[in-house]
């Protein structure tokens, strides 16, 4: 097979703009021109934006949206719609124009006219939540592909559960060169190929240009062959030939593998010049020239009625299919359950098994690593919540995220509820986003806290989109011991707490772990991170009535007598605080211990409660991590006992001693401050 460069140089080179424009203009081209014209006008109005992708991919997207994509503009949240993800989010106008033209409420022409202005649903990059038909927030490259793999996987898993009559749709992606260079797309593509997600298709804008110029400057590999090596069906077509695109899309429908369709396009067609597409502004003269070249005489933001009508018809093309689906679901035996999971409602009795577990913990007071406690909680939750699906990035036996009986998803077989993501943290986080966006599943997945950095870009998007995803992050401090500093988180807790909308839970014992899991499961409007220890933790609580973690922080052990100091700790360090409290008590110093498993929830409590918990006395913070952010709880006279640099490789107890994280050190700090 010829290399990309050779193909470009040889017979199947990229179509030239002039050549494309000289072709006869079929109706479909005119429909695509409407997309182009709107994109040009909106960029012109905003004086900013990226016209290249919408212009280049207009023909291919028109073919997809008018002949293949299953959707009904009347109900953009119809559960069995095809998902369309614009991974190359900088080309947002492609999506906005399509939504507008197909007659979606909420994307009227004024939205496009106000492209990139405050409060317009047509934001710079597509924002999930700005419009119901925007399936995902995209912009950071590669993320859309990651999410799409999750959506396609969710579809397969739900189809396995509810059957084809309720769940039978595809996931379509429009991606750019940049998407396909990012590591996350490699991981996601490799995973999709492995799992044979054959209802996933990626149309890729093979224009040979990125922000810095010719792709050949930075990439000389053959993308098609690479995807073939991942187990994809690959095709290359003239992206400006609707018939060719349609043929490729039809073959994607029949493929037994995920499909990559390289649409060779001429960037920015028909805007003259090479660099016009990527964020470069067009002047009025260029706009005029571009429209003339297209043969588009209409005023800005105006689409002639006949064309507009054809587009609106495309928007209701699947209305009949949707009505048929509504009839099917109306008499489907699993209707209630299907509606429950798609609405994200928890099962009636999801909580019972956890309640039983909690009372058992309160009674037996087990000494367990919190990752182990998490496993026990999952063992209670998984049977009670069929929508709960797990996974891990090749650390199943360390994160303890697998529960017996879940069954693993495998190529061609999607009845299991556990995904082996491979050593692909980033794709895993992307897939979690996709599953949550798809709906019908509550996904969780595990890796080490230290490797949360690998998934951070996707995690941030989960927070931005307020998705219900749960990360199980284990090995949460120097307490993991011998694996050493590369594996020991120091700054990760602070780094994660900094992300707006994230709830980070760091439970102190088995009971708190169960409580934190409850809170994570209940949380429907954002991601939860459950941060867990590798080393065993003693039981600290025997009460299991109220979920005390729900307030984020609480007085675990009140001072005996008037409080002189408050020891505030999270996770594994709470036990240390309790030990210090005892020491201090023996010396006649009355200290309280506050467990602070979730800062974000604690911050939401009223001032009076927080003051009551933290106390107007000397405060000592204890966490086997850096102090960043702790001043908020400690106040100015406070003192923090934790890590000031990276860890080391040695057994857990030795490290705690070595780094001065001991009850003695805490007691000493209190005593020093008293005198």
């Amino acid at each position: 097979m010829a290399s990309l460069a050779e193909r470009r140089a040889g017979g199947s080179r990229l179509p030239e703009q002039t050549e494309i424009l000289a072709r006869p203009v079929p109706g479909e081209r005119r429909m695509a021109d409407a997309v182009r014209a709107l994109a040009i006008d909106a960029v012109q109005a905003a004086q900013s934006g990226h016209p290249g992708m919408p212009l280049g991919m207009a023909d291919a997207a028109t073919a997809l949206w008018t002949r293949f994509l299953k959707f009904d503009a009347a109900d953009p949240r119809w559960p069995d719609r095809d998902r369309f993800v614009l991974s190359a989010g900088h080309g947002s106008l492609l999506l906005y124009a399509l939504l507008h033209l197909t007659g979606h409420d909420g994307m009227e022409i004024d939205a496009l006219q106000r492209f990139r202005r405050l409060h317009s649903p047509a934001a710079g990059h597509p924002e999930y939540g700005e419009h119901p038909a925007i399936e995902a927030t995209t912009g950071p490259l590669g993320q859309g592909i990651g999410a799409a793999v999750g959506m396609a996987l969710a579809e397969r898993m739900l189809a396995a559960r509810f059957g084809k009559s309720l769940v039978d749709h595809r996931t379509w992606v429009v991606a750019s060169d940049g998407d396909l260079m990012e590591g996350i797309s490699h991981e996601a593509a490799s995973l999709a190929g492995h799992l044979r997600l054959d209802k996933l298709a990626v149309l890729y804008d093979d224009n040979g240009i990125s922000v810095d110029g010719e792709i050949s400057r930075v990439c000389s590999e053959d993308v098609l062959r690479r995807f073939a090596a991942y187990g994809w069906a690959v095709k290359q077509v003239d992206g400006h030939d609707p018939t060719a695109v349609a043929a490729a899309l039809s073959s994607a429908l029949r493929s037994r593998k995920p499909s990559l369709i390289a649409c060779r396009t001429s960037l920015g067609c028909p805007a003259a010049g090479d660099s016009v597409g990527q964020g470069v502004r067009m002047g009025p003269a260029e706009v005029l020239r571009a429209k003339q070249a297209l043969g588009w005489p209409h005023p800005p933001f105006t689409v002639p009625e006949t064309l507009a009508e054809r587009w609106r018809q495309a928007g209701s093309r699947a209305a009949g299919t949707r009505r048929a689906w509504l009839r099917r679901i109306a008499r489907h035996p699993q209707r209630a359950e299907f509606e429950r999971v798609t609405a994200g409602r928890l099962p009636e009795s999801w909580h019972e098994a956890v309640a039983v577990l909690k009372s058992r913990i309160a009674e037996t007071r087990p000494r367990l690593a919190s990752r182990q406690s998490s496993h026990e909680t999952l063992t209670a939750l998984v049977p009670a919540m069929p929508e709960l699906v797990g996974g891990s990035a090749d650390l199943t036996s360390s994160t303890l995220t697998f529960v017996k009986g879940m069954g693993a998803v495998a190529p061609g077989s999607y009845g299991g509820r556990y995904v082996h993501y491979g050593i692909r943290e980033h794709a895993m986080a992307g897939a979690l986003n996709g599953m949550a966006l798809h709906g019908g599943l509550i996904p969780y997945a595990g890796t080490f806290v230290a490797f949360s950095d690998y998934m951070r870009p996707a995690l941030r998007l989960a927070a931005q989109m307020r998705l219900r995803v749960i990360y199980v992050l284990t090995h949460d401090s120097i307490g993991l011991g011998e694996d050493g500093s590369t594996h020991q988180p120091i700054e990760h807790l602070a780094g994660l707490r900094a992300i707006p909308g994230v709830h980070l839970f760091r439970p102190a014992d088995a009971l708190e772990t169960a409580e934190c899991w409850e809170l994570a499961i209940r949380r429907a409007d954002g991601p939860s991170l459950i941060v867990l220890s590798r080393q065993p933790l003693p039981a600290l609580r025997s009460d299991c009535g109220e979920n005390r973690c729900a307030r984020g922080g609480y007085v675990l052990a009140e001072a005996e007598g008037p409080r002189q100091a408050t020891l505030i700790a999270t996770g594994s360090e709470v036990a240390l605080a309790i030990a210090a409290r005892e020491r201090l008590a023996a010396e006649g110093i009355a200290a309280a211990v506050v467990s602070l498993p979730c800062w974000e929830l604690f911050a939401l409590q009223d001032e009076a409660y927080r003051m009551r918990v933290l106390g107007g006395v000397m405060r000592i913070g204890i966490e086997a991590a850096c102090d960043f952010g702790w001043e908020r709880w400690l106040g100015e006279g406070g003192c923090f006992i934790g890590m000031s640099g990276y860890g080391a490789s040695a057994p857990c107890e030795e490290l705690y001693r070595h780094f001065g994280l001991t009850a003695e050190a805490v007691a000493l700090a209190v005593r020093r401050r008293m005198h």
Partner: protein, 660 residues
């Protein structure tokens, strides 16, 4: 000596140490012992007596969990930094044999590895540095390879493919990967999660690919020779059995990270016919290994002779590069820039300031290598620099493609290699894509300058996905990294001076996209940013009542708020805080005086509050972001989110009332 026996020495040292430690990963050291024996005994150019010899081959254990493999190799081939005692105390406090290898070139450990995917990218960065220095200094002086042992994990990571693509594209011909193809990972057989045609991934990225039996050291030897002859980067797929030598568990999942007991190590001794007690290597095997360690001595001596024969100037230059010293007078341009900025006093796009500075510094520092992941246009740190390309390795600007993670990890490799001053530029939001590498840069204490531009909602219409809010906090949380956020042209020059002077770790230089109005006046003398924070404008007309603390683009807002308060008779100071970490290093008296303990304190930063409480105290005010941004014109966004002089002023006033 039979290579097999030499390899068995590695196997037994490894299993004895892992058994003794009570945990570890036997799979890799046992499975890849033969591969690495072929490499170390027949190919690797090194001198255990002078581990940091500039022209040595670099060896990276990318699958760092197999750390015992490198410790055994180094110890056996005569590196004094890794003693038998260290090995006995594998994974104990104070041992040089940590759970995962930690950067220590004097002991033969070229980079810290463990987080998968990083090591191979580091090796690619080393190969890039080598290629550049080879052109700069000549093949007489710089001519070596970068080898990496790599497992399935590294190749599954996205970073792995980014590196494959880029190294192939740039034709880093001296890069050689030895793939420990054992078809096993932590969860079990790789087909649980992987069906890639791995060799194809390399081939189509223009690599030279060979497939051999990884337990046939002679075959690996031959493949290594061919790899070195080929002008492309090379991948040798070495089919192996994980945990080879442990009869009960070899070839199984258990071998990846099994705990070993006496019974197992005894069985291995019988199985491999190795009658020697734990931690004992028979003399002939030892001797063969020491001999292997001395193999490159003639090369070493010849190199020293060539260096000695260099003209004085060239020698000095080489010494300078080796020691990582910058050329005499490199600061002159910066100082001139600062003076000019003080005279001109005009607003300038933040990132353009950095670009202008680098344009000058590149002239003064010939070993400076710049680059960006496809954001050259928006960040402009190329200017006059020629590109580093497949056909011209003398270029000084690397187009990384849209591969931030590879860029970060390659910068680490370049810095660890030495001889070059690596700089990487991207948007601040995309720093997350390379965050795993940032932590390693800091942990290794490498001098890498990361330039992160487009640092707040100030980027405007691209919207929240492109607007950092939590990034400053998250970066500041990383130990041993300086985060510098200059407020104007003068501070920009000062921050660059700090960054390049700082040799104990990385710096993140954070720049606004939007214009930064001048905030500094006065003379160009002292580098005020060097103290981390300083009083930019002292309160006037009485004792200071309020202090406004700000960084970067918000310093100008703070000054406007101050003007309002001052005109209203409230003596107010503005403190610019370009670098928190440096400020923390000042003495308590200075810090107290600057932040104005006892005055009303308000922090201003277009980012989240996390971390600010330290400076604004319990009842201080903060004007910044509480959530994600929005898409709109930048000035509207600042107004929308209330990051304005009025709000700052109001925050002070609320507290003034409280005070009286």
């Amino acid at each position: 000596m039979d290579l097999r026996l030499m390899a068995d020495a590695i196997r037994f040292l490894s299993m004895d140490a892992i058994k003794h430690a009570g945990e570890g990963h036997p799979g890799t050291p046992l499975g890849a012992a033969d591969i690495c024996t072929a490499l170390f005994a027949r190919h690797l150019k090194c001198n255990p007596q002078d581990p940091s010899w500039f022209d040595r081959d670099r060896f990276v254990l990318s699958n760092g969990h197999g750390s015992m493999l490198i410790y055994a190799l180094l110890h056996l081939s005569g590196y004094e930094g890794i003693t038998l005692e260290d090995i006995r105390r594998f994974r104990q406090l104070g041992s040089h044999c940590e759970g995962h290898p930690e950067y220590h070139p004097d002991r033969g450990i070229e980079v810290t590895t463990g987080p998968l995917g990083q090591g191979i990218a580091n090796a690619a960065g080393m190969a890039l540095a080598e290629a550049f220095l080879n052109r700069m200094l000549g093949a007489d002086i710089v001519d070596h390879h970068a080898y990496a042992l790599v497992g399935d994990g590294c190749l599954q990571e996205g970073l792995g493919q980014e590196v494959i693509s880029l190294a192939g594209h740039l034709r880093l011909g001296k890069l050689v990967f030895l793939w420990d193809d054992n078809r096993m990972t932590d969860d079990g057989p790789i087909d649980l999660a992987l069906s890639d045609d791995m060799p194809a991934r390399f081939r189509l990225s223009n690599w030279h690919v060979q497939e051999v039996d990884g337990h046939d050291a002679d075959a690996v030897d031959t493949a290594l020779r061919l790899a070195r002859e080929d002008p492309r980067p090379s991948m040798i797929a070495c089919r192996t059995i994980i945990g080879r030598g442990l009869p009960q568990i070899e070839g199984t999942r258990a071998a990846h990270s099994a705990r070993l007991d006496r019974e197992q190590t005894d069985a291995a001794r019988a199985y491999l016919n190795w009658p020697h007690p734990p931690f004992e290597i028979p003399e002939p095997v030892c001797a063969a290994w020491r001999e292997a360690g001395r193999r490159s001595l003639p090369d070493y001596q010849a190199w020293q002779a060539r260096v000695a024969a260099l003209p004085v100037e060239k020698r000095r230059e080489l010494d300078r590069l080796r020691e990582g010293r910058l050329p005499e007078g490199w600061r002159d341009a910066l100082h001139a820039f600062k003076r000019r900025a003080l005279e001109a006093r005009k607003a300038e796009y933040g990132i353009k300031l950095s670009a202008d500075i680098i344009d000058m510094l590149a002239e003064a520092i010939p070993e400076l290598l710049s680059g960006a992941p496809d954001l050259e246009g928006a960040t402009q740190h190329k200017r006059r620099l020629a590109p580093f390309t497949a056909t011209d390795h003398s270029g000084r600007y690397v187009h990384y493609g849209i591969r931030e993670h590879a860029m970060g990890a390659m910068l680490n490799g370049m810095a660890a290699h030495g001889g070059v001053v690596p700089i990487g530029v991207t948007y601040l939001v995309f720093s997350d894509y390379m965050r795993p590498t940032l932590r390693l840069t800091a942990m290794m204490g490498l001098r890498v300058s990361f330039v992160f531009s487009h640092d707040s909602i100030g980027i405007g219409r691209n919207g929240p996905t492109h607007q950092p809010v939590e990034y400053l906090a998250a970066l500041r949380a990383i130990p041993n990294m300086l985060v510098l956020r200059p407020a104007d042209a003068v501070e920009a020059a000062e921050c660059w001076e700090i960054a390049l002077e700082h040799r104990a770790g990385p710096c993140s230089l954070i720049f606004a996209r939007q214009p930064l109005p001048p905030v500094r006046s006065g003379n160009a003398g002292e580098n005020l940013s060097g103290r981390g924070a300083y009083v930019l404008a002292e309160a006037e007309g009485g004792a200071r009542r309020a202090t406004i603390l700000a960084t970067g683009s918000e310093v100008a807002i703070a000054l406007q708020a101050r003007a309002r308060l001052q005109s209203d008779g409230v003596p107010t100071a503005v403190v610019s805080m370009p670098c928190w970490e440096l400020f923390e290093q000042q003495d308590g008296a200075y810090r107290g005086a600057v932040i104005g303990e006892g005055t009303i304190r308000v922090g201003v930063e277009a980012a989240v509050r996390l971390g600010w409480d330290r400076y604004i105290g319990g009842d201080g005010g903060f004007v910044g972001m509480t959530g994600f941004g929005a898409s709109g014109p930048e000035d509207e966004l600042f107004a929308h989110f209330g990051i304005t002089p009025e709000r700052v002023e109001a925050a002070v006033r609320e507290r003034l009332q409280g005070n009286t």
